[in-house]
Symmetry: C2
Subunit: 217 residues, 2 copies
Amino acid sequence: MLSQTEENYLKAIYKNAGAEQSVSTNAISKTLKTSAASVTDMLKKLADKDLLHYEKYKGVRLTDSGRSVSTHLIRKHRLWEVFLYKKLNFKWGEVHDIAEQLEHIQSPELVERLDAFLGFPKVDPHGDPIPDAEGNYEVEEKVLLSELPEGARGKIIGLAEHSKNFLAHLDAMDIKLGLNIKIIEKFSFDNSIKIKIKPDKVLVLSAKVAQSLFINK
Amino acid sequence: MLSQTEENYLKAIYKNAGAEQSVSTNAISKTLKTSAASVTDMLKKLADKDLLHYEKYKGVRLTDSGRSVSTHLIRKHRLWEVFLYKKLNFKWGEVHDIAEQLEHIQSPELVERLDAFLGFPKVDPHGDPIPDAEGNYEVEEKVLLSELPEGARGKIIGLAEHSKNFLAHLDAMDIKLGLNIKIIEKFSFDNSIKIKIKPDKVLVLSAKVAQSLFINK
DNA sequence: ACAAATTTTTAGACAAGTCTAAAAAAAATT
DNA sequence: AATTTTTTTTAGACTTGTCTAAAAATTTGT
Ligand SMILES: [Mn+2]
Ligand SMILES: [Mn+2]
Ligand SMILES: [Mn+2]
Ligand SMILES: [Mn+2]
């Protein structure tokens, strides 16, 4: 059985590079906010357990086993987020930190029952896909709102940023996942974008916001 | 913030002696299945944090602060048990081990929302009381089924034993909390007891079972 | 191609939580 | 009251995960 710490390293590696590419010691160290020296130590331990391939000075790549642990953690994390959001009515900016703890609960049975209880959701409250029990998931085709031309229509399906700050800002602007939008006008002055949502509500989004929203393609 | 380990020590102390009495090093060591030497070390640390009163060779007693941590843990443990039992349909013998992990999740907001989601339950799936946010709870007056005379009536409201084995046995016998029973006959041969449940079902309980079921008084 | 900057590893230390073995204190027996 | 048994504490060691400082390797820039 893996410790929470080991699990967090694997997840950090997966988030940095997925299962194919390799990740540098420094990248992991930044994600986890630990020293590079500590990371090196841990990478050796995880390599001993066949969770990743490690070659001195060359960075690491997850093994199949390591990838499986990572995606399973992400599955648990996102299922718990759905639970907190849908059943306990937390805001979407509040669920991540709690799920960060809940994802480490060890009980395969619990995950499957939670999944069923939630109605087998496909995405978490931020629009990110929930891996199935085998660790597989589909990534929807999407494009940044800021990339779309005037006149284009689409639906908000994901976020390029996940900070609490950003999520709270979206709440304040009444922007949620699933909204159908149409681009009315793009302002070259500051790259802000005027959009229409629903029948007749119009609002102007800053460039920063437009660059952080994914639209279906 | 306390570590899971520290929390488990406090809970073990509370379970052994409540908040009034004092507990011996050995008793804690048995409950937690760690060496007496380790327990002594930890007791000093917890005393430094004012969670308990420690005097060499005299055992320990929780402080108000220690008692508060303990009852809050028990509150969380039992609320999660209700969740697992009522919402995820786990059997009552399966919930304890998972709740043992969930009780350490740190989020005051989560506990209160879970409580509301569950409809503010007063007892857990084993009939044990759930402390409120202040750590207070009422213990229902009860008596062992084995103590009742022939002809007595009552309702099964609690368990004197919590082993998985016992819980599975009760499942096999179709005995649950809330059942109304009447004592038909007590057999002096082996102290088994014949009871009637509901309209017309009669069954004989072994002495061991009768000594492990609480009836309301 | 060499020097400088950056990244990564090693070395040595520390805190938390655990253990076993031995010493000290307390409790039980005779 | 003295002896034996049991409980508790101390001493010293080990593991996990972390750190800082220094050394080694790699990458970048000229
Ligand atoms: Mn998250
Ligand atoms: Mn985590
Ligand atoms: Mn329990
Ligand atoms: Mn616990």
